[in-house]
């Protein structure tokens, strides 16, 4: 409390040191009529730039000319404050606001409130509360919201989260604004928006260069390389990156069209296609901004201020229809657990498939936009959780993305020590406080000589790492070893449902899948003229984060070539096919339909547990089951041969469970 009174007293002294308000009038300047006229003209021009064009820099230039003539006018000082405030130079702006207050504390009914917001922004929460409490009745409701933010801000600072915050460096950041970082799920490619100058880049009406999209990749040492302009995505006006698919093959950008719309582009080789408006999302009269793909790329999360929003901008999703197109009828609001009467912005869907990060002014925070996360649990969004200080500050904290492993976050901030304007920073989360054992002793018994040692521990809470498997692969031709442009289908085996379809990059053959834990997946890679490749990832809810990198060789359909059908499962010690096998069987069926001239052998194999006769019989029956299924589906009997090899053809040592599991398999071989 002492601190507040001291600050208030100190401020009062400063205020009283300023002279009194001087109006722009002939009475005040009887001998400077010409200069007065010029000053008034400058104020008028400044007002025009400010109100009509929203060009705060041009407005400021005119106001400052008037200020040179008369620096002691409360209204002018207030206008200059508003200009600085609008382009985020709050330090400078605050000086003018304080001067306006000292010249005429009643100039504007909101002036106490504005002073409160400035003190709040600079973390002087107690002083801010004082000014909010002295705001006029018209500002009472807003002030009360801010007072709560100040109290919460104090608590959040007391419970600061442990992290390192590092500027991404000069290869990413410049003296202009950089923001909207988005990363591919492997964390190796970064796209961001910058307002830096450059060849053919013009000034926007707000006095800064137009937004453009830049990209950087990590070198072999994990360092970001010099960012380059993504020319094919940029136009003469604003182009800002909003979201990138996990595999980096699709991108969503923002353009100013129709009050602000979202566009989508696809990667062909090393370049993106021409961005196309996402018509299912964009509405003519509303502002669509910020977007993020779900892990399976079947949903886009986006923000819009459309007419049915709960507050200003809300977070929505749009899904694809059966034809794989974004469908306007499948747009839905995330509901009032996420969306408030205030603004929700900059949504990011984590590759874990159930967490979203977003910014909001409406949930409990320490001022401006704060960043929150929420998890989709049993079909419902959990109550948003504030990410805490210092990720969140009293300013606007937006465009936060979390790395796939949950250890790093990226965001833009104008904190001191950067390269100028907003810079992109990486937050390394250190998790909850580590354990410390405090040592304290008491003479618990009145007559005991030795004190009683009482170690007190502050135990850490386990950090919950995202539960997902990041599958990074390159598809190549078995013979030529050249990358292949192939289709990657992701199945939920339990539900026998095709979850998503991806494509490998045309030039590199690379793909990247995020497989959230809690499902039994099949990943099938197909290409016309090749045998498909299937893999099984049975990931229970508890499966922890892992990254798998693979090179997958597709085999051309030729006589003698064979593949393992990794997703065919039987009941234990029986030849009854389990329902989880259906997706794989249907793929075999499709392959046979697409290639009507081939004849195949379906073979059953076992491990070496049990007698040879028993295993031979079991493997033969299992091969028969597969063949019978295909015949029932319509494949001609003469194209299929079922053979049971028992344990005669192991592909791994039978000495380990892992080896035995590999040996228990069904194979598909082209024989004619």
């Amino acid at each position: 409390m002492k601190k507040i009174w001291f600050s208030v007293f100190f401020i009062s002294i400063i205020f009283y040191a300023f002279p009194q308000n001087v109006e722009f009038s002939r009475i005040a300047f009887p001998d400077n009529k010409k200069e007065l006229r010029t000053a008034l003209s400058n104020i008028k021009k400044g007002d025009k730039y400010y109100n009509k064009n929203l060009d705060y820099r041009a407005a400021l230039q005119h106001y400052q000319k008037a200020y040179e003539f008369n620096p002691n006018n409360a209204g002018l000082n207030y206008k200059i404050f508003l200009c600085y405030n609008n382009f985020d130079n709050k330090e400078e702006g605050f000086l003018y606001l304080k001067k306006a207050f000292s010249l005429d504390s009643n100039y504007n009914p909101a002036i106490n409130f504005h002073i409160g917001t400035m003190y709040q922004y600079f973390y002087s929460f107690d002083t801010a509360i004082y000014y909010y409490e002295h705001s006029g009745p018209s500002m009472k409701t807003k002030s009360n919201v801010h007072i709560n933010e100040c109290y919460l801000g104090k608590k959040m600072i007391e419970n600061e989260i442990r992290c390192f915050i590092d500027n991404l460096g000069s290869k990413i950041n410049s003296d202009a604004d950089e923001y909207n970082p988005v990363l591919t799920a492997d964390g190796n490619t970064l796209y961001f928006t910058s307002r830096r100058g450059g060849k053919n880049i013009d000034y926007a009406p707000d006095g800064k260069y137009y937004e453009n999209i830049y990209m950087s990749t990590k070198d072999e040492n994990g360092q970001w390389q010099q960012a380059v302009l993504v020319e094919e995505l940029c136009t003469k006006t604003h182009d800002a990156v909003q979201g990138i698919s996990n595999d980096g093959q699709k991108i969503i950008i923002y353009r100013n069209d129709n009050n602000g719309d979202l566009f989508e582009a696809f990667k062909k080789g090393n370049k993106f296609t021409k961005p196309k408006s996402i018509k299912a999302i964009n509405e003519e009269s509303s502002h669509e901004t910020s977007a993020s793909y779900s892990f399976d790329q079947n949903t886009i999360y986006f923000c819009s201020d459309r007419s049915n929003s709960i507050g200003k901008h809300d977070i929505y999703t749009v899904s694809k229809n059966r034809r794989g197109k974004w469908d306007k009828s499948k747009v839905s609001n995330l509901g009032n657990v996420i969306n408030t009467r205030e603004d929700e912005r900059s949504v990011f869907a984590h590759p874990d498939g159930k967490t979203i990060y977003f910014s909001s002014k409406g949930h409990e925070g320490m001022g401006g936009f704060d960043i929150y996360y929420s998890k989709l649990e049993n079909g419902k969004w959990s109550k948003p959780v504030n990410l805490g200080y210092p990720v969140n500050t009293p300013g606007d904290d937006v465009y936060f993305v979390m790395s796939t492993d949950g250890k790093q976050g990226y965001y833009a901030s104008d904190q001191a020590g950067g390269f100028g304007g907003r810079d992109i920073y990486m937050i390394t989360f250190l998790g909850p406080e580590k354990r410390f054992d405090y040592k304290t002793e008491d003479n618990l018994l009145a007559n005991a000589i030795k004190p009683f040692l009482d170690n007190k521990s502050i135990k850490s809470i386990e950090v919950e790492a995202p539960k997902l498997t990041l599958l990074k692969g390159t598809v190549i031709d078995e013979d030529t070893k050249k990358p292949l442009h192939a289709i990657v289908d992701l199945y939920d085996l339990k539900e026998n449902e095709l979850l998503a379809t991806f494509e490998t990059n045309e030039e590199t053959g690379r793909f990247l899948l995020s497989l959230p834990s809690g499902k039994n997946y099949s990943v099938n890679i197909n290409k016309v003229g090749y045998l498909f490749f299937s893999q099984n990832f049975d990931l229970p809810d508890t499966a922890s984060y892992q990254e798998i990198e693979q090179t997958l060789e597709l085999i051309k359909i030729q006589v003698g070539k064979e593949i393992v059908l990794n997703n065919i499962f039987f009941e234990f010690n029986k030849a009854t096919l389990l329902p989880e096998s259906m997706s794989e069987l249907d793929n075999v069926y499709k392959l046979l339909v697409d290639n009507p001239d081939i004849k195949v052998e379906i073979s059953g194999h076992t491990d070496n547990v049990g007698s040879a006769a028993y295993n031979k019989k079991l493997s033969q029956e299992r091969a028969n089951s597969v063949v019978n299924y295909l015949i029932k589906k319509g494949i001609k009997n003469e194209r299929l041969i079922a053979v049971g090899y028992g344990f005669d053809k192991p592909i791994a040592p039978n000495t380990t469970e892992e080896g035995r599991q590999k040996n228990r398999r069904t194979e598909f071989k082209v024989i004619e």
Binding site: D437, K439, T440, E441, L444, P451
Partner: protein, 351 residues
């Protein structure tokens, strides 16, 4: 005759003070004109003059004259105990018990000796004999409580402390000790009531300190600080209370105040390493990592196998981005048995 009576009375008073017994039975020696009693009374006089060898000599002569008198055996037991000849002392009390009909005090003293000899089971056996003979022997119940407390039989301890309080509700130490027992059983409200009662009966620094520590456990840090301050006012050199107050200040995130207390504690007892460790943690909290590491380094020079200090130093090195150093320290902490350190290694060192 008058002189003899005075000597006997003096002996009884000194005996009572020797065994710390307040209201229990008094050993009465009837005065006769025989030689044994004269010798005994001379021995009492020598004992009071702290001339133990002369007293023993007189007592042995007295026993030689008449070995059926219990009092000389009792006094022999008392003197040998004071001379730290505990086995002879016990033998003398046992002889006394053989001869006397009033046995409770002797049983109690034997129990005290066994307890001092760190033989709690033998002590408890004699305490049982004591209370069998005299169920209202308050000090015996109290000692049973203390021994059970030390054996970590807290429910038993509470039973005996409660019995002692039933007999004498004015003994503040018993309330304190029962309060401490409740505290270990995490029955904080019961503990608080007992500490309150002890303080009402007798304002001792130790009681305030213990109540302060209880309030820390109850996360009433401001009240804890008040209690520790009261303890320190009563005993300015009570360094444990000063350290504990620093701890309570950590609880209210007054890290600078905590460091001040840890420094004050170390002024009182420069070898109190707990306070150096706590100060290191407080430095960590205010991000003075260099100072924190200096404190942890110092402790490790004194005790190179202090597991928690390796953990603390590792945690601090993490914050100065010395990941290699942090991992080495966590490794050492893990080797010394700290499970959490293994988790830190798994999460942050195995890549």
């Amino acid at each position: 005759m008058k002189r003899k009576s005075i000597l006997i009375a003096l002996f009884i008073v000194s005996l009572l003070s020797a065994i710390g017994q307040k209201k229990d039975k008094v050993i009465v020696i009837k005065s006769d004109q025989n030689n044994a009693e004269y010798l005994y009374n001379d021995a009492v006089k020598s004992y009071n003059e702290k001339n133990f060898s002369e007293a023993i000599e007189r007592l042995q002569l007295s026993i030689k004259e008449n070995d059926t008198l219990p009092a000389p055996h009792f006094l022999l037991g008392v003197i040998h105990r004071e001379m730290n000849k505990k086995q002879i002392s016990i033998q003398s009390f046992l002889k006394y018990i053989e001869l006397s009909t009033i046995k409770d005090t002797a049983f109690y003293i034997i129990a005290q000796i066994y307890n001092e000899e760190n033989k709690p089971d033998s002590a408890l056996m004699f305490l049982k004999s004591c209370t069998d003979h005299n169920p209202n022997f308050c000090q015996a119940h109290y000692l049973k409580g203390v021994i059970n407390f030390e054996k970590s039989y807290y429910d038993e301890a509470i039973h005996h402390f409660s019995k002692a309080i039933e007999i004498n509700s004015e003994n503040s130490d018993v309330y304190n000790d029962r309060g401490s027992t409740y505290r270990l059983l995490e029955k904080y409200e019961d503990a608080l009531n007992d500490y309150d009662k002890a303080i009402v009966l007798n304002k001792k620094a130790i009681y305030y300190n213990n109540r302060g520590s209880l309030k820390v456990k109850m996360e009433k840090f401001d009240e804890a600080i008040d209690d520790y301050t009261s303890a320190i006012v009563l005993d300015y050199n009570y360094y444990l209370a000063i350290n504990n107050r620093g701890m309570a200040k950590l609880g209210i995130k007054d890290y600078t105040g905590a460091i001040h207390d840890f420094n004050l504690c170390l002024e009182k007892n420069k070898d109190y390493y707990a306070s150096i460790s706590n100060r290191g943690i407080a430095y960590y909290k205010i991000k003075k990592y260099k100072e924190a590491i200096e404190d942890f380094d110092y402790i490790l020079t004194i005790n190179p196998s202090d597991a928690s200090t390796y953990l603390h130093r590792g945690n601090t090195k993490e914050m100065i981005r010395d990941n290699e150093g942090a991992c080495q320290d966590w490794q050492k902490a893990a080797e010394l048995g700290i499970e959490e350190a293994k988790k830190y290694i798994k999460n942050q060192c195995e890549n």
